[in-house]
């Protein structure tokens, strides 16, 4: 178990700043999710932690030791790749045993540890199979077992669920979280899927263009986005933005309600012209405009709305967020 610190980490590939000055602190036993669109530098940041890339500037500290010049194998980390990277020529047993074999442990100890890890992940019956003979979900478990068998200080995971089909993915996510909590290993998890990030992360670091835009618990990231990028990236559909009096006014689609349904609290009012209504089963989405700006409302099915008409809508003032018109940074009012 260990904490990880990143101090002013930069990574350049030629003229491109893949990671552009990141400061992060990951606590002992924490599950930190790096969330961002592709090209945001999240995978590079993780590879820097793993030692697969060398930082151009900055310091990387694991468990109190600066590890910039320490090769991956001596960092006490383990990693699960997106592709799982199982050694295709080795059986599942030998795959999981590999880190221990390299360490030079004796056979009985290796067998004991591999069987323990395999048992934890419920893959004990697969040990003699080859990687080509098991399913995607099983491969993922093998990769995790291999990562954990050495009892790493830090576990790194690069989109480990993205190669699974949608059905398996949800259960895998729940199990992964349960598992991490049980053994309490410090975990850094890279994903571009915000549902995964929300469900898994103790904290989420949202990245874009090589920088961390916001770091916080999932609720804060969702309800109090630090800037318009985070606000626009998180949430499906994302936050609505309307420009008023020289500032950007932002509010989530589900707090944007017909005025008559609103409570008596302090309200901010809008005229909402509905252009299209989409029924999505348990709720519906109303697309329309405030002035010239397109916005979306997420409503219960029973709210009556007709396409082409204008309504009075409102948002509780405490649900409204304000952002600077040029920089997009949040302003507190």
């Amino acid at each position: 178990m260990a904490f990880v610190q990143l101090r002013g980490i930069k990574k350049q590939f030629g003229a491109v700043n893949a990671v552009d000055g990141v400061d992060l602190e990951i606590k002992d036993g924490e599950f930190l999710v790096l969330l961002g669109p592709s090209g945001s530098g999240k995978t590079t940041l993780m590879r820097l932690c793993a030692g697969l890339e060398k930082p151009t500037a900055g310091e990387l500290v694991i468990d109190g030791e600066v590890v910039n010049d320490v090769p991956p194998r001596e960092r006490g980390i383990a990693m699960v790749f997106q592709s799982y990277a199982l050694y295709p020529h080795k059986t599942v047993f030998k795959n999981i045993a590999f880190p221990l074999t390299v360490e030079g442990l004796d056979k009985s100890e290796i067998r004991y540890k591999v069987e323990l890890a395999a048992g934890l992940l419920g893959i004990g019956r697969l040990l003699e199979r080859m990687p080509s003979q098991i399913s995607g979900g099983e491969k993922q478990r093998v990769a995790i077992a291999r990562a954990l068998v050495r009892k790493p200080k830090v576990l790194l995971m690069d989109e480990p669920l993205s190669n699974l089909d949608a059905k398996v993915r949800h259960t895998a996510r729940v199990e992964l979280k349960k598992f991490q909590q049980e053994i309490g290993v410090t975990t850094i998890y890279v994903t571009h899927d915000q549902a995964e990030a929300m469900g898994l992360g103790d904290r989420i670091a949202v990245m874009s263009e090589g920088r961390v835009r916001q770091i916080g618990i999932p609720e804060d990231i969702y309800h109090d986005p630090a800037d318009t990028f985070v606000a626009g990236f998180i949430g499906n559909p994302p936050m609505n933005f309307v420009e008023q009096n020289g500032v950007i006014v932002g509010f989530r689609p589900e707090v944007f309600l017909p005025a008559e349904l609103a409570s008596t609290e302090d309200q901010t009012k809008f005229r909402f012209k509905v252009t299209r209504v989409e029924n999505l089963g348990s709720f519906k989405l109303a697309y329309g405009t405030i002035g010239e700006t397109g916005v979306i409302a997420n409503l219960q099915l029973r709210v009556p709305l007709e396409e082409g008409r204008e309504y009075d809508f409102s948002v509780r003032s405490k649900d409204v967020r304000y952002y600077h018109r040029e920089t997009g940074v949040r302003i507190t009012k």
């Binding site: 793993a50 697969l52 194998r73 383990a78 050694y87 020529h89």
Partner: protein
């Protein structure tokens, strides 16, 4: 229906033509090897089949009266030595160029491939001087020293494309699982590259068995000759007496090489085509 039969007939006809064209020299070797001299040297007898009973006389002569087995042995010796040298030089180079060396690795790789396009016929004159200065004329060592000039460049290129086809993740996983760069190479990449290395071994060996010009230029001593020059210089003397043995020798030596090569042909050719067109 008639058209279909006609097309089918045309197809098999054309195929038969090409098979005859390609295989007939080997067929004629086979027949000639086992023909009695009396049968063989009668211009009126059908050369494509036996007019008299077949005989093993030419074969016996080949193995007892000629240096055929010596030629084979020499070829095998040179082949094994060259294969070992080639693998020792080409495998690390290909790994480095494909996996470690980034951009300049690509350029050097192409450079090494281009040296494959420098033919023996351009190099044999200076090389004959080098061989003479080193005192290796008439020695199999001259061939062992020089043959890697064509095996190393091509095999390096072939292995580069092989190493490139192994996902990078797997190597990085090995680094994280406790290997050094070299450790990952020996423990993970090398076992995965075994099929590629085998095809390189086969390819290098068949190239050695094929080589003619250097052997012709460096070796005059009959007992030091390899199979190609041995057969064509020692058994061809305008002396009709040797025809059956000559054919038998050529057939016996070419079929194993051809079988070996055919077995790995697809991989080698795709490497050849990759080298020049796509990766």
């Amino acid at each position: 229906m008639l058209k279909k039969i006609f097309l089918k007939g045309g197809f098999y006809g054309a195929l038969a033509f090409f098979i005859l064209f390609s295989a007939s020299p080997f067929y004629i070797m086979l027949i000639t090897t086992f023909k009695k001299s009396h049968d063989l040297f009668n211009p009126n007898n059908n050369p494509f089949f036996f007019a008299e009973l077949p005989t093993l006389d030419h074969m016996k002569l080949l193995f007892s009266q000629t240096l055929f087995t010596t030629f084979l042995w020499n070829t095998l010796l040179v082949g094994v030595a060259v294969v070992v040298i080639t693998v020792l030089l080409a495998v690390p180079a290909a790994f480095s160029l494909a996996r470690m060396a980034g951009k300049w690795g690509e350029s050097i790789g192409i450079g090494i491939f281009l040296t494959y396009l420098v033919p023996p016929t351009l190099l044999f004159i200076p090389l004959s001087r080098i061989v003479a200065i080193l005192g290796l004329q008439n020695s199999l060592w001259s061939l062992i020293l020089v043959y890697p000039t064509f095996t190393v460049p091509f095999c390096t290129w072939l292995l580069m494309s092989f190493f490139k086809s192994i996902p990078k993740d797997i190597e990085e996983q090995a680094l994280i699982d406790g290997c050094s760069r070299m450790g990952a190479f020996f423990r993970i990449l090398l076992p995965l590259a075994v099929p590629g290395i085998i095809s390189v071994v086969v390819f290098a060996f068949t190239l050695v068995a094929n080589e003619y010009i250097y052997a012709l230029a460096f070796i005059q001593d009959s007992a030091k000759k390899t199979i190609g020059i041995g057969l064509t210089t020692e058994l061809v003397r305008g002396d009709v007496f040797y025809w059956g043995s000559l054919m038998g020798g050529a057939l016996l030596a070419s079929i194993p090489v051809a079988l070996l090569y055919t077995f790995f042909l697809d991989r080698i050719i795709s490497g050849l085509a990759m080298g020049a067109s796509k990766r």
